[in-house]
């Protein structure tokens, strides 16, 4: 058993592409199948007991990454090690053990639970597949799992449709916890829930992490949430990590122009703060036709010729945490946040 803070999971240069079905036009012009580049070489570590937040906009590859980590997708290349052991080479019982120790919870608790199983059957299935407890103890263990996620024991005999969204997400978490994992990968676990219910689930995750010493990979597009929950964050854009480092520091002075744009675009809970200036122009490029060089260069206000040609690696570049920007080392001060929009205060 390793200690808290030890590296548990390490991904190195993970790549994943999907081939896209040819359109009729492509077929007629005898063009080859197109490749959608979902991950273009992703490297990071996860330490025991920590929360790593992965943030990014749609199409940045964050969900593909989650699925590669549990081998729901097989990466095309790169390596993935768990406690130093090569995960991608595992098969049979070892692979099953890995998949027990690294569990996933999904965004939509409506579709990730089997509607024809009661909560007890659902938990019992996980417990017996991985032979966590003898059959005679399954019921008692199911009750304990429900305690852990603050659901009443009566819930065990009901079906998923009888619960609200927040309660269903609790069931999803109980199911993941049933097999005593060491890492939980949560892919947008609260995005489908209302704000007041989100807080309940976030608290549950924080509490479980403290009690059970779990590592948590928290994937979200909600910057406010990730700021609250993560020790470190990785900012992804178009299949790559742009910057990875301690949450507070990145929120205070991000090193990559994309992280800064993302943070400037985040709506804050401060009235009248919005300036007229747009955080970043342009749209996300299609992963089918990624730009050459730095993936952010077509939208970047400081792009130079080198950015159009060379892909910047995720390196320290003289800073305290790595950033994939040719100019990360030469940026002194972060651009200030947009100034508040002038508006006469009323009724205060």
């Amino acid at each position: 058993m390793s200690n808290p803070g030890d590296i548990l999971l390490r991904a190195q240069d993970l790549k994943k592409s999907f081939s896209v079905p040819r359109t009729l036009q492509d077929a007629l012009q005898r063009r080859p199948r197109r490749l959608l580049r979902a991950l273009s070489g992703v490297s990071f570590d996860v330490r025991r007991g920590e929360t790593l937040g992965i943030v990014g906009e749609s199409g940045c590859g964050k969900s593909t990454l989650a699925r590669c980590l549990v081998r729901l997708h097989e990466p095309d290349s790169g390596s993935l090690t768990f406690e130093g052991e090569d995960v991608l080479a595992l098969s049979g019982p070892e692979r099953r053990t890995y998949n027990r120790r690294v569990q996933m919870i999904f965004q939509d608790p409506y579709s990730s639970l089997n509607p024809r199983l009661t909560v007890r059957q659902c938990l019992a299935e996980a417990l017996s597949v991985h032979r966590i407890v003898p059959a005679s103890e399954i019921n008692a263990r199911a009750d304990r799992l429900l305690d852990l996620v603050h659901l009443p024991h009566e819930a065990a005999n009901r079906y998923p449709h009888e619960f609200s969204g927040g309660q269903r997400q609790r069931i999803g978490i109980a199911r993941a916890l049933a097999v005593e994992p060491e890492i939980i990968i949560a892919d947008e676990p609260v995005s489908a829930l209302d704000v007041s219910v989100q807080a309940q689930i976030v608290n549950l995750l924080l509490e479980l992490q403290n009690e059970l010493g779990l590592a948590l990979i928290f994937i979200t597009h909600d910057l406010r949430l990730v700021h609250h929950i993560a020790h470190r964050i990785a900012v992804m854009y178009l299949g790559g990590i742009m910057e990875i480092g301690p949450t507070e520091e990145i929120f205070a002075s991000a090193r990559h122009p994309y992280s800064r744009a993302l943070l400037a675009a985040m709506p804050r809970l401060v009235p009248g703060r919005r300036s007229g200036a747009v955080a970043v122009q342009g749209e996300l490029p299609s992963p089918l036709f990624p730009p050459t060089g730095c993936p952010f260069h077509p939208r970047c206000p400081m792009a130079q010729a080198v950015c159009r040609q060379d892909v910047p690696g995720l390196d320290l570049r003289g800073g305290l945490w790595p950033a994939a920007c040719h100019f990360a080392g030469s940026i002194e001060e972060p651009t200030p946040l947009p100034r508040p929009r002038a508006r006469t205060p009323k009724g205060v």
Partner: protein, 331 residues
């Protein structure tokens, strides 16, 4: 920003219910609302609070099983009692609407040019060439680059953000005085959301429009709206200027909702969720609908609290209005 005194739109004691196989569901339950020229009113609430239904009731585009009661005065005329012909002249021309999902709101088999043209034919007297010129102008206005070349594109050739811009262009075709925006940026990424919200704010200022922005995102409200109405279970909990609502909430629900949000000053501590669930709307609610989840509730809350003025332009339906502490919002 000039704000005139006489409201452009005034909703008076509106009730909306839907007849379903399992009885009647009350989506909106006695709602009052006012929008003045030049104002951006945020209508905020969680799912099922009735914010979208309110918006759709104003222009009468609800499903046939909806029953709408009350009055909606638009420049002195009641939209709910207006003839279908007259309503058609108002809808789209004076009051325009944009939706959350532009892919379903736009017609996928018609080019954008034709969809803007439809609005121009219906609401202006321009000739064919002038309409095409105006359409290009509109696409330019909403920030679509190379508007003349993009005009004949189909919706599927546009990205999500571009589609939303195209929908805004269609809505602006007849120079409306009020824009109803139903979660216009919910389906968009945060950098694109930022672009669209700033575009909408610029248009509101430049064209002198008023806007009702329906959203569940309090951050969007804080940064975009001048006025806010907070909805809960089909009723207005409180309404007033955005600064007043965020710094001095006068309804226990608003107070609890704002306090449940993660704030940057205290990372990784437990949040303060609102316990329980919103009430079911298929049963009558006697008192304040928030009572079962409220930590400030007292016996008077068991009968429906009236909406009272609690500050300049600030109203609330909460008996605890003056007991709630002010909030400190990190700058």
């Amino acid at each position: 920003m000039m704000v005139s005194v006489e409201p452009l739109l005034r909703v008076n004691d509106m009730h909306v219910s839907f007849e379903t196989g399992h009885g009647s569901v009350r989506a909106v339950d006695g709602l009052d609302l006012e929008v003045r020229a030049g104002e951006v009113l945020g209508l905020v609430g969680e799912s099922g609070s009735g914010k979208s239904v309110t918006l759709r009731s104003i222009t009468r585009i609800l499903q046939p099983n909806a029953r709408v009661k009350g009055q909606v005065f638009w420049r002195g005329e009641d939209l709910l009692r207006m003839s279908e012909t007259r309503l058609r002249a108002v809808r789209g021309a004076e009051i325009a609407m944009i939706f959350q999902e532009p892919m379903t709101a736009l017609n996928p088999v018609l080019p954008i040019s034709l969809q803007i043209d439809e609005a121009l034919v219906a609401h202006t007297t321009l000739g064919r060439a002038a309409r095409r010129k105006r359409a290009i102008e509109l696409l330019g206005l909403v920030g679509i680059p190379a508007a003349a070349e993009r005009l004949d594109s189909y919706p599927h050739e546009f990205s999500g953000g571009m589609r939303q811009r195209a929908m805004i262009a269609i809505a602006l075709a007849a120079d409306p005085a009020l824009l109803l925006a139903d979660e216009p940026t919910t389906a968009l990424d945060v950098t694109i959301q930022d672009q669209i919200l700033k575009l909408l704010l610029r248009l509101v200022d430049d064209l002198g429009m008023a806007m009702i922005l329906v959203t569940h995102d309090l951050g969007v409200v804080a940064e975009t709206c001048s006025q806010v109405a907070v909805m809960y279970a089909g009723r207005i909990a409180e309404a007033g200027p955005v600064e007043a609502i965020f710094y001095h909430p006068r309804h226990a629900y608003t107070h609890a909702l704002l306090n449940s949000m993660p704030d940057s000053s205290a990372a990784r501590v437990a949040l303060k969720p609102i316990p329980g669930q919103p009430p079911r709307l298929d049963r009558p609610i006697q008192g304040c609908p928030f009572v079962p989840r409220c930590t400030w509730a007292t016996p008077p809350c068991e009968s429906r609290p009236p909406i009272v003025t609690v500050g300049p332009g600030h109203v609330s339906a909460c008996t605890a209005a003056h007991r709630l502490p002010s909030r400190i919002v990190p700058a």
